[in-house]
Subunit: 652 residues, 2 copies
């Protein structure tokens, strides 16, 4: 707020963005896949009108039809093995999903439910017999299914699900039973209307012993009728995503054959002997869950692209909408020439670019792990952590961007014909489905605090507290991955302990050092507080509760550091030229607004003087002024099909 | 984030909230009015289901019918003179409106359009002939009308409206004409279906001279048919508020008699001579606008109460929903016992209370000004400023609270049956209608920067820049109202220049001093930057653009100071007892979270050491733990009819 009026930048030459080249850079290796999806989006653009105009039933049917038709183009099956009609590339499948998020989000989520959740569970948790039986028809959309994990009583803590599957050795069947209403499956996409099969997660009981949660393939509809013993209720209208038929499912002694158990990680012999290569039941459960990480990578990437749609509309609107005269001349000033409007939109634009490149990294990691290119235990853990963190930051970002952009478009932004209504309502659930964002950040923090110890995957929050308090603080710090690169906290600052007070504000090394320092310092502090709490004889639960906001902050700091590293790496690797200059401005803007928004923390911890803090705010304003003339090109480079902007009152 | 685990508070006795007494305090002098509305809300509770289930047309008709039925109970006409069938109390009318915001927000906005905007314009801008002609039927809802100010091209800058009303002295009529499509009236509530009359704002031209924007009563429907020369288009579905029929209106040479001009502030003689007691056309326009301030007071109060509904649901849910075990015992922990969950909800609870008491102040000021109790020029200006500021902070608060509460209720919060969908979609427009929040804060800042100079009402942003740069910075500071109470900046700190480093963190004087210091310092800084920019020969527009975020921050700091003062005054006036203790905790929590969220600024400006900043965060956590056991009672005290919570999956 103490920003002074900067002199016009001297010696600065405004870059000219090469839009097609930048689109190529953003699309990357999956450009062809993305273009296929862009074509499909344009072909089926009328679904955006249908979403507004059709009744619930018709809209659901329309979305189903459209998903099946898209499936026929190969767009939705890219992640499945080629032998079953898939595309054989996990990375391509994520890229396709991300691009689909430019369009109607019910279509996106229906695709996610059918091919990601349902198909993914069959593929990852099942074995050949399941693949042979289901994948061919599932990939074409002929066989619709649902993913029945969440229950009314348990969404985040799925290890505590209430549905039970008891093995009956006499009949060689599993008997599935919903206990009370808290154990009914709830919010299940595809359940209310379209699913024939459900992958049901239930507590497996064999011979009176519980073996934890396992997945079973259960027919829920036969020839369109609800199967005997199954009860289904429609979840009805939702805030958004009304093209997806969510519902509740109860099981009343439903019997399925022994082969219905998805048996990649555990099986029950015909005689009723439980067998698994993974002995520890917690680890077994988290290993199963870990194979489903693709869902989180998908949602994070989808959210980032939904944010792009909102930003593209708001930026184009701000380039043409005039309001109030700026000077005495006749014409009113366009919104984007106002300093405040730049402050509202351009840092969000920069962060969207940053998250795009961070998503590239996590998509690549996913592809490498699931294609067996880099499939060790450590890589899987890092992938799970990064997927959780990128999903949390990406989806919160989308919520924030869509809200800010709607407000920046005033009353016109409120009309249903101008996409914001649908964007806002449909994307709202992203922050809490596929893992509640706060719970996901706790997962990230757990990995950091335990240094991805081999046991880490199996720990709940209390185990984590006990584990951390069993270590010396130094050990915790040593175990962090960042630390392995950087010998001591002081070494985070490449020019020595005072260097950060003098470094150039536009030096990426400075930005990285600041975010690394913050992460390490917060991590050590959280570990110290956990230990101190336990030393004080408090219960692990009470200790965790009191340190919880600190733990979440550690995770947030960690993920922001990863995002910045992804952006910096990308810019550095570019050949010299105007696009590099433009992305460099955005990268600086992202880094400095990130530091600025947490500048209180940096001041509290001696890494930022009051003067320097004010200088950062001035620099941010200056960067906004430099990015402003590039803004239209920067949103055009996302390659959003014009039909998807669907905002006749805003972008013409 | 450096918060250490606090020892259990010693000597602290947890208060027991007397819920009925607290409800009485909150309802205040308008308890009977509020209870009438509560009864009506309960009687018509089924409209919440209708909103979800009915089609667009039926829902609009349902809302119309309901509004007319509510009008018959006297609820909606309280602000009109008794001689016309009204209640004769502006304050009561606002209290009724606020309470109505617990229910369906389409009903609320329909009431606002009919009785606040349309009725308010007839009452405030018209004279006896208009009152006699329209008020009796308007108050019963028999005569429906609309308020046609906003145009597609102009929402914020309404002085630049494009519709023209030309006086034809021969026929003694005004001829209304929409120029191009940018001048069509847009987003006008009641226009698409129900309005018979419109109060139309248009540029008045008499004998070739333009006299600025004036208001005219224009029939837009006759016997249910659109009037000749009028064209109306439906705005169609909106993000929310679909029970209100918004539309667009074009006028093609529509003739209305001379008496159609609402002539309280200006008239045209039959011969075509323009007459007004207010010579300056800008001042005339802003005087007219000023009489409509009630709309902003209403929306602000409504938004605060909509936020209460969301908080009540989320708090009740967090009291019963269990997730993850906190300790090794059998039961999972309720959400509200998690430190993070407390941090998410309880500061919002405290801010809601703070805004409630701030709303009490602005409602009282409105009542006094419009009842002639305190109707001087200065009081009117302060009212306009306070109404603008409270509306901006109240509506942003509602958007934030509803989003946070939805996320805190997970998937169930996404189902339409559980109120969040409607709350979120319906309230979204609050931040930009009845004045865009950023534009409103600029209005507040303009008042501060010009010390409510007599010319201030007439200035646009450029005049303001020129005015401020014509003054010495000291003069600007001298002119601020806060300064009149407190001789010099240093005197803001009651214990001397260093006192704030040692003052008790729970001392209200400390909280007030911090917020006062921030406001004065920011104000002086903004004035200095404006002057420096103009001295540097930049154009006023460029200077304003560069200082705009600072100007907005000044306004925000000013309004937060007013909100805190309202809360502190309220607590201090209470008799000793548990309710005073409980409200004192909330007041401290509001004050410290307000300081905490801007602690970077306080550190940058030498008013907060790093150590003290961390201590404030610790204190906030401690206050959250103290408020936690009171949370259920504190939301119950709002007296929201249980039917309005309508969240069967969340609150049972």
């Amino acid at each position: 707020m103490s920003t002074e009026i900067a002199p016009p930048p001297s010696g600065y030459v405004q870059p000219v963005v090469d839009v097609p080249a930048l689109t190529g850079l953003l699309d990357g290796e999956y450009a062809a896949v993305r273009d296929l999806v862009r074509t499909n989006l344009t072909t089926y653009a009328s679904v955006l009108d249908d979403a507004e105009e059709l009744g619930l039933d018709e809209y659901r049917e329309r979305v189903r039809t459209l998903v099946v038709e898209m499936a026929a183009t190969g767009q939705t099956g890219m992640g499945f093995p080629e032998e079953y009609g898939g595309g054989g590339s996990v990375g391509a499948s994520i890229a396709a999903f991300e691009t689909l998020a430019f369009g109607d989000l019910s279509v996106l989520v229906k695709v996610g439910v059918q091919f990601g959740l349902f198909g993914g569970a069959i593929l990852q948790l099942g074995t050949r017999r399941h693949h042979d039986a289901y994948l061919p028809d599932l990939i074409t959309g002929k066989l619709m299914g649902c993913f029945a994990m969440t229950e009314t009583g348990h969404g985040s803590n799925v290890q505590a699900l209430g549905t039970v599957a008891t093995y009956d050795a006499d009949s060689r069947e599993f008997v599935l039973t919903t206990g009370d209403d808290q154990a009914r499956k709830d919010y299940i996409g595809n359940a209310a209307r379209h699913a024939e099969l459900a992958v049901v997660f239930a507590q497996l009981e064999v011979g009176g012993t519980s073996h934890g949660v396992h997945a079973f393939v259960v027919p829920v509809r036969i020839d369109g009728e609800v199967a005997p013993g199954v009860r289904i209720e429609d979840d009805g209208r939702k805030m958004g995503l009304n093209g997806v038929d969510n519902g509740r499912i109860w099981f009343d002694g439903v019997r399925v054959p022994r082969e219905a158990l998805l048996d990649k990680f555990a099986d029950v012999t015909p005689e009723g002997v439980y067998e698994s290569a993974i002995e520890n039941p917690d680890r077994r459960f988290f290993t199963m869950l870990g194979t489903l990480v693709q869902g989180r990578v998908s949602v994070g990437g989808g959210a980032i692209n939904a944010a792009k749609v909102a930003l593209a509309i708001a930026t184009k609107y701000a380039e043409r909408r005039r309001q109030f005269k700026a000077d005495s001349d006749a014409q009113e000033q366009v919104l984007l020439d106002y300093g405040l409007h730049q402050r509202r939109l351009l840092p969000l634009l920069a962060r969207t670019y940053a998250l795009h490149f961070a998503q590239d990294v996590v998509r690549t990691q996913l592809h490498e792990v699931f294609s067996g290119i880099k499939d060790d235990e450590q890589s899987r853990r890092e992938l799970e952590s990064r997927a959780a963190g990128t999903k949390a930051l990406g989806t919160w970002h989308a919520t924030r961007v869509i809200q800010e952009c709607r407000e920046a478009c005033g009353g016109a932004g409120y009309l249903a014909v101008n996409r914001f209504a649908a964007l806002k309502a449909d994307s709202d659930i992203f922050t809490t489905f596929e893992g509640d964002n706060h719970v996901l950040l706790q997962l990230v923090a757990k990995g950091l605090l335990t240094g991805y110890a081999s046991e880490f995957g199996d720990m709940d929050q209390l185990d984590m507290v006990r584990f951390v308090t069993g270590l010396a603080v130094e050990t915790v710090i040593e175990k962090t991955s960042a630390h392995k690169l950087l010998e001591r906290v002081r070494d985070l600052l490449p020019g020595g302990d005072e260097w950060d007070q003098e470094a150039g504000l536009l030096d990426s090394e400075y930005h990285l050092a600041m975010l690394r320092f913050r992460e390490e310092h917060m991590l050590a502090g959280a570990a110290r507080r956990l230990k101190r709490g336990m030393d004080g004889k408090a219960s692990p639960g009470a200790v965790f509760s009191q340190v919880q906001d600190h733990v979440i902050a550690v995770a947030d700091a960690h993920v922001e550091r990863l995002v910045l590293e992804a952006f910096v790496d990308k810019v550095r690797a570019l050949p010299d030229g105007d696009n590099k200059v433009a992305l460099g401005l955005l990268c600086d803007l992202f880094a400095l607004t990130t530091i600025e928004s947490d500048r209180a923390w940096f001041m509290e911890h001696g890494r930022l003087s009051a003067q320097r803090s004010k200088a950062i705010s001035r620099e941010v304003n200056d960067l906004c002024r430099k990015v402003r003339p590039l803004a239209a090109d920067l949103v055009d480079a996302w390659g959003i099909p014009p039909e998807m902007l669907r905002a006749p009152d805003l972008v013409g």
